[in-house]
Symmetry: T
Subunit: 158 residues, 12 copies
């Protein structure tokens, strides 16, 4: 059932769908592991990182909504169900249980770094297929790169 007509022709439609769907999975996964770290972090930098993680989660949730609604607007139903995220999400993640503050800072910096690398590939991939989607991905990348920098800067030790 293709109920919402797409303004994009094939093969641009498939390319754009792949970029949006995989970005959606990355962002939803990021929002979940951001909260996981927010709740389980311990150590002297607890409060500062605890608050910072909520900014990552807020950004990830907001972008996930925009990305999924963009897919729907192009006639491409997005998939953000629990089982889809569990099987498709492959970015570095924290382990179970309490997490030391320096572990958190390091793993989130890595997660963001990996997410950014994948986003940059999609920016290239969608340039021809749909410049509107490309513009959206550029905006997401800018914000995640700023967030990554802050964790990176915080990760430096004497």
């Amino acid at each position: 059932m293709a109920v919402v007509k797409s303004p994009l022709p094939e093969p641009a439609r498939q390319v754009t769908y792949d970029a949006l769907q995989s970005t959606l999975v990355d962002l939803l996964g990021l929002s979940l592991i951001g909260k996981q770290a927010h709740w389980n972090i311990v150590g002297p930098r607890f409060r500062s990182v605890h608050l910072q993680l909520d900014e990552v989660v807020a950004a990830a949730r907001g972008f996930a909504d925009t990305v999924a609604e963009r897919a729907s607007a192009l006639g491409l139903p997005p998939d953000g169900r629990p089982e889809t995220i569990a099987s498709a999400f492959t970015l570095p993640s924290p382990k179970d249980g309490w997490l030391r503050d320096e572990e958190v800072v390091q793993v989130i910096a890595e997660t963001l770094g990996a997410a950014i690398g994948r986003l940059r590939e999609r920016i290239t991939a969608t340039e021809e297929a749909d410049p509107v989607t490309q513009d959206l991905l550029i905006g997401i990348t800018a914000e995640l790169e700023k967030q990554r920098w802050m964790f990176e800067a915080e990760n430096v030790t004497s």
Copy 2:
């Protein structure tokens, strides 16, 4: 590593942990499938249900945060990672792809009904173990029952 000391003795601690951890999984799963329906719904009642689902998601996210922080406050690290949700979440869920408005109303009413049934068991289970946690679960149940009623009421057809 048991880094945050618990104010609860055993076995109250284990009982409370089970109640909080399983509630966390239900709420995070609910927030994901609420968004899935929000994005994929079609039909004449699109706008009304589209907006209503965001209220369910907001409630689920807010309660998940409170539940997880309550677990941490009791020295019990919560687990809300993607793979945990995917394996532990068992409530009724919508299928992939576009969803007709009446399907959405029905499945969300069922999801909420199942979640409520499980919460009421946990209210009984925590009465002795920790009245502070019990009070929190009662509040969540009240809100989800109100949400369920609205979908039920909307589900009546001539």
Copy 3:
């Protein structure tokens, strides 16, 4: 009288002017027919669509202002007078008098679809002439495609 000097050389200036001026006409016309439908709609879905149309009008008015000020900023005086809109506006429009709700949903989806098609042509046309203007047109297209999806999704019938 060319009082505001243009930072753009010919022929880029003419290309950009054409894109902005025709977009301005489309948006002002859209804001007027959106209000026309807002006032004349009748039927069971009256209230829901009545409110939804005001969101279209607000978006159209906001974008019209930005587009016209962009033209002025490029030394190109925009033209949004009543007679200009009447003669240059060619998108599908509702008829005079009361309008049934399903008619409204269908015609507004068509109006938005036609507007998007024309905007995508202008995105291509301005790529060389002025990337700043192109970026603005991309943003407008993203929003109108989202609005179109909502009317499309609502237009699905059993």
Copy 4:
């Protein structure tokens, strides 16, 4: 199709309709030329008048909405489509292209003066036909007279 029953008998209905429909055209036209001047004004007083015009536009849009919904509430479908405005709007208007600030101040003062003259006639005309509509027209007149004074006061030159 006369779908909304009118609480007014004939001939009061026709008198009221004429007053509301012609006021609607004047206000929508005023909102369009207010924006036209807002965008195209040049000269030393650019910034001050640029801001002042947006207050005129906001007032005109707000009153147009109230007037059109009043017509619908009386069972009289209003007409605010582009072609209707273009053919029925007869108030003094700015010309195409850049506009000197003193020209703008003068023409808007004239537009407002002409609109007020027509409104005062309609206040008299609707006194018997529908006092509720008359009260609405009195409120619009008070505001437009205040706006006109400000342009008049600004129009005084040494």
Copy 5:
């Protein structure tokens, strides 16, 4: 005990009192049956009408307060006690128990229509007695007519 002196002479005082007291009863009754419908409505349009009714209730409560304080200001103690409303309120009302959405829309449109008819009589009656009170009644009528139109328009079926 006539503690607050009235600025109105007889018989204007009695005429004005009758208009205000009967309007107070209508508005308090309207606020109660609006809530009754808000709580008991069922059916596919549940959410939309549920919200719309709260706007009617808010308007009715606000106007009731203004009307009663106007009476006190004129030295005429208003009466809004439960038994007074029960005996004096005669507008069409919903029955006990669950209410179908189309029933609600129809009965509230009728209630508002009847209230408006009575208000228009009072506008005539108070013209001589107290123009300040008349002006207040005109404002209430304008708002209730707008509300009625929305329920009327919504009440049209294929």
Copy 6:
């Protein structure tokens, strides 16, 4: 027509219904007599008590809404129509006409005291039947006891 299924079995359902319905009547009646006193009070403490009464009314209205929606959520349609309140409301009330400030303080303190006594009985009655409803009644009691204290404290005379 039992359209909303109840999550409560008999006889818990009837017990809970009785508690909620009688609380609803008490709160709606309280909101009406609070306004009656707000409008008719005279004497040196006029302004202070006039404002204080609006806080009572606001609390009563808010709780009435929560109580009625709780009933609906349990499949039990609430009844707040004028005739129901008039026949079922039995708390102490002010008389008709102007009211001296010390009379107002005394009667409202009595009304609140009586309402609290009845609420405490319902807290006991619903402990087994529905702990969620009991929790709601406890919250209402806490607020009304605070309000009563303020009127009591104010009622002390030399």
Copy 7:
């Protein structure tokens, strides 16, 4: 120098000017003596009346601005200079130095009563001359009558 053209013909213009100018003097004087009492009041009701007086001052200042701008809008320059107020203001006023609370309540009630009497004459006088000005004076009267009632009600002693 008649720089702002008047939309009113003679003699309507003079009638309207007299009504607006004398209202302006009354309101500015009222704002000054309201503050005088606000600063000099003493006695057990100090705080309550101290706050109440600021509401009178705020209303008087706001209306004075509206009245004076209405005069300017009609081409009639208003006069609110200190010497004009001192010579033209004739309403009852408080004496110099500390003021007992019951004195303040009485004199302000008298001032408001006198101001209202004069406003009602002007409402009659402007009915033919300018219905827009009449509508404004009616609104001011309604507010001052409400304020007067509150001081009257407070002035009653056992």
Copy 8:
């Protein structure tokens, strides 16, 4: 009747009273002539100066309130009645009727300059008598000197 005890001994009390009472007169007079100019100004700079004058009025009113309450707090009843201002206010003032924009700018700059000169004398006079009052006068002077600069700067012509 010396009802509020003064924390200041003689002769400091008299010195402070003179400084506060004369400042009160200057500020209330300034607030009145600021409004007079606000209403009667005409000319090309109408809007800009019209708005600027309201900032002077707001500052003058706020400081007048602080100064008068400071006098009361020191047991010295302030006098701000119309006749007192009329006889004691001696700063440069605008004439009656319409005022050209350049006249307004010049006279307000002069008024502020004269007010500042008098305030600086009072700063010296109160240094010993009451440093708290001196601090208040310093704050008023700083603000009025800033306002004066803006009118001075605007008064420069080619």
Copy 9:
């Protein structure tokens, strides 16, 4: 002088009084030592802990107000005077002078832990005596346990 009648019989009244009065002392003491630490903390984590302490103080002040007003509402005058706090407050406290950040984190975690232990005893003690007071103590415990967790988590060192 027993001026406010208590709704509680003996011995419930004495039990409840003891619980509320000792909680009041703990909370007021906590607000004072929270500020003491807020002002005297030094070390690398200064800023983060400095801010966190103000959240503890805000919570303690808010709860103290609720607890004391609850006592008054039950006819039991609370005692929060300086000498009472000094003699009755026994929770762990910081010493005089500058405080190292790790000392602050540790002592506040201990203070909160001790306060929680005492609150849990009072929850048990008031279950029979007054469930409304018990519900209030449960809410305070939940918040203090959350605050304690944050200091505990921050107290973990490598």
Copy 10:
């Protein structure tokens, strides 16, 4: 341990420390007894004085924070612990238990009067030692003198 270097030399440092530390004790004590009176007051003026006391408490708390942070900024650790306040606070205070409203007004006026006398001595003492601290003490005195006036004015009886 003198961790924060002082910008003040001896003996100015000691003089300033004495002034700040004794002011801190007075303000914290004032905030505690203000709340004590807020909770225990009874009588006809209950509500008015109950609210007024919270303004005193808010001012005292805000100034205490500023004073203590000023001490820290000068390298002088402030001391606001319970035992310090209890031993060093010597201003007039209310007794234990319920308090009549006129007693409260009188004792708070006395407390404020005594605090002001001590502050004026410290203004003199710090003039040479640290003008920045002197400026802060002047601001506190101005506010407390205003508060004292209000209680004094309210304390006047026939």
Copy 11:
């Protein structure tokens, strides 16, 4: 010390660094000369241009922050120290001392024009090197071109 790893390879890194660093200097310089003109402007258009300049400064400061943080995010430490700006800033600037309003308008229009020309070169230069940075520079250009238009439009003289 290369502490933050760069996601960009050479030579893209150097190209991007040059673009960001030179833009930072232009923006910081622009913010300083915008303030210089804001403080020193005189003439009839003082107020209008005085306010307009603060919008330029706010934009320049906001963009400078974004640009510098973008550099850091790419592992490239930005340099905005006073000596760097003084030596590297080459855009047209106002002279020392008072500035006539028309001089200010002209020089700021020139400054903005020059800044825009340099930004457009950097847009071309970064297209290959880093599209995310390019997108940021496009946004800055759009805003500065809009600001320039306003000064240009204001610069037109008869």
Copy 12:
């Protein structure tokens, strides 16, 4: 060209000018190096100090504006151009490139300490020349001393 007349005579004018101009340079320089550190800081305390520096910058910018406008108000044109700051700014500053967090804390504490020393000299210098300016400098000193304390406190290491 001495366009704005000065209310100060010589030599007070020159003394005041020197104090204001040198303070302006210190504050603008402080705002630039504060941002420099904000962008280039690295290390475990990154986020906390990153945020704290923005508070220093905001304070410095706000005070710079007040100081420069005070100079203009006294007829003394201030100079804040890039070259002026570069040559006149002599406070301790951070070096180029990445900065370790402990370096940042130390250098900013030193910069603030040096700025405060210079401000205290100017407080003495302006006491006779202009007490209004002195009052402004006292306020700036108070704020910078508070900021310095926070960096000092944070600078303490084990």
